[in-house]
């Protein structure tokens, strides 16, 4: 098969991505950190570090710890705030021929709305990704994402002010990802991102303190991939909006698992730290796989999993 004939482009919420490979929020800075490693225009989409209305200092250090095939992070959503992002980071990002997606969150209901509005107005931001995995200060640190009522209220209000495509990023710390996915779709999400990190903890046994100054943190990396693939499969079977899959993708073979399970696009997170060229190599790997398998269009891979019928579940 002629490589030029390969079609890797996918559509997410009305946006055309040249390939299904995105960066995962918080693992690619504001893009500039990796711009010297490769041409960012090669990316399907670039998702920036989670933004809030005002700058945030984040948590004390140590903020990360390595675990078996994974890492825990408790960055605490440190970010420069929407205003500085628009003024200082967005101009460079606009110069790349790729889709720019702004991940955002708020500590309060109002902050969510105000941040969404600001990003919706910002030229060069093509879509918004709402992070509802973070705790809700007003209601005693309950995660917005784990309370259906709260989620419905929040999503409704954000949807009302956002004209750009709205992606909702779901937390895996839930008993039923299908329910969360359906709810987000009902509330007007144009696409879903999953998964965010699983909450975890690691302990220094000599000093008997947590390895993270925040006690707990979010687990990412290859360790969580099986959970992520399962959730992407479950979610994409119950919604009609596209699902963006992520969680432990290190190479094109991992990416293919997600695409086959039903993800329309995938995002690369922790792998960027291990190998700054991960995204590019994954794109190349997808092309190689398609050539080898004689697949001309990536659509023929997406959701192509043939499951067994005899499945029980324990």
């Amino acid at each position: 098969m002629n490589d030029n004939a390969l079609n890797l482009s996918v559509e997410i919420a009305g946006l055309r991505l040249k390939n299904p490979v995105m960066t995962a929020s918080g693992t690619f800075g504001y893009g500039e950190e990796y711009a010297e490693f490769f041409d960012l225009s090669r990316l399907g989409a670039l998702v920036v570090k989670g933004l809030s209305l005002r700058p945030k200092r984040g948590n004390p250090t140590p903020r990360i710890a390595e675990t078996a095939s994974g890492m825990l992070n408790a960055i605490g959503l440190q970010n420069i705030g929407v205003e500085e992002f628009i003024g200082k980071k967005l101009p460079l990002l606009r110069s790349f021929d790729t889709v720019i997606i702004a991940n955002f969150f708020g500590d309060t209901f109002e902050e969510f709305i105000d941040t969404a509005e600001a990003l919706d107005r910002a030229e060069g931001v093509h879509a918004l990704e709402l992070n509802i995995s973070c705790p809700n200060k007003q209601q005693g640190w309950v995660s917005f994402g784990s309370d259906p009522g709260l989620m419905r209220e929040l999503l409704g209000a954000i949807r009302a002010v956002v004209k750009k495509p709205l992606i909702v990023k779901l937390s895996p710390n839930t008993a039923d990802i299908k329910q969360a996915a359906v709810l987000a779709q009902e509330c007007g999400a144009d696409a879903l991102s999953l998964i965010n990190t699983l909450t975890g903890m690691a302990i220094d046994i000599r000093r008997r303190v947590p390895l993270l100054a925040n006690n707990t943190g979010g687990l990412s990396g290859p360790a969580i991939k099986p959970v992520a693939v399962r959730m992407v499969w479950e979610a994409s079977n119950v919604v009609s909006i596209p699902v963006i899959g992520m969680g432990g993708i290190m190479n094109s073979s991992d990416a293919l698992e997600f695409l086959i399970a039903g993800a329309r696009a995938i995002a690369v997170g922790t792998a960027n730290f291990v190998n700054p060229l991960s995204t590019v190599q994954i794109i190349e790997g997808l092309e190689r796989f398609m050539s080898e398998e004689g697949i001309g269009d990536i659509q023929d891979i997406i959701g192509s999993l043939r499951t067994y019928n005899n499945a029980r579940s324990c």
Partner: protein, 249 residues
């Protein structure tokens, strides 16, 4: 533009109980390096994240790292053999500002790694104060003798050189103001103390900071430090900082 490459282990040398010297070569790529910069080194295929290590030397197309076995990763690194390949990312971070003339170098423990590089790149100009717990933890004294102008060794138990820590040795030597900038690498406590001492005396002072790192390039925000201009990334804005910048110093 690449800075990620596979390097071959050319030599592994045991310097003492827990100190090792690692020599790497790469046909692919070894870029211009400067003292104070560091690399992220893969320590074993079972570990996800690379570990940061200062450049110890960069002569003859080779890269040298001096490290101390501390945890799982460094333990595993010490088990690798000549001929094995590891993935490395670098050089990363900001280097020590080039000293114009003579300078004071202060090293504690494995902090000697980046300080050695500075001394070697500025041969015969460094007045080195090098401290460790005991005699067995002082490594490469002969080589240090050669690259520094004056070498003062301090051990906490007095088993080699003067008794006490390196900073005490430095302070007792220069009760007046030494007309030289200070370069320091070692335990956080030592760095904070020497920073205050230098700031007091109005001397330029550069310190090399450490923090747990994931990306090494400023993207993950794991390695921040509080500076007078807000939070900075140790991997990208550092690891070398001017003492005056750091809050708490």
């Amino acid at each position: 533009m690449h800075r990620l490459f596979k390097a071959r282990i050319v030599q592994t040398t045991v310097l003492s109980g827990s100190y090792r010297l690692l020599t790497l070569s790469s046909e692919e790529y070894i870029r211009h390096c400067e003292a104070g910069q560091f690399f992220m080194l893969q320590t074993g295929s079972e570990f996800l994240l690379k570990r940061p290590f200062s450049i110890f030397s960069h002569r003859g197309g080779l890269l040298y790292f001096l490290y101390c076995i501390r945890g799982k990763g460094t333990k595993r690194l010490s088990e690798l053999r000549e001929g094995d390949f590891i993935e490395v990312l670098g050089p990363l971070g900001k280097a020590y500002p080039k000293p114009a003339g003579d300078f004071i170098a202060l090293a504690g423990g494995s902090g000697i790694a980046s300080i050695y590089c500075l001394l070697e790149d500025n041969k015969g100009k460094g007045h080195l104060f090098y401290g460790a717990k005991e005699k067995g933890d002082i490594v490469l004294a002969d080589s240090l003798e050669k690259v520094s102008k004056v070498l003062t060794i301090a051990t906490e138990d007095g088993s080699l050189g003067v008794k006490g820590n390196a900073l005490e040795a430095l302070c007792s030597k220069y009760q007046g103001d030494p007309p030289m900038p200070i370069y320091a690498c070692g335990p956080k406590q030592m760095l904070m103390a020497v920073s205050r001492w230098a700031l007091d005396k109005g001397l330029p002072c550069y310190i090399s900071l450490e923090e747990h790192m994931a990306c090494g390039v400023g993207a993950c925000l794991s390695c921040v430090v509080e500076t007078r201009e807000g939070l900075k990334g140790i991997c990208k804005d550092g690891p070398i900082f001017s003492a005056g910048e750091i809050i708490g110093a």
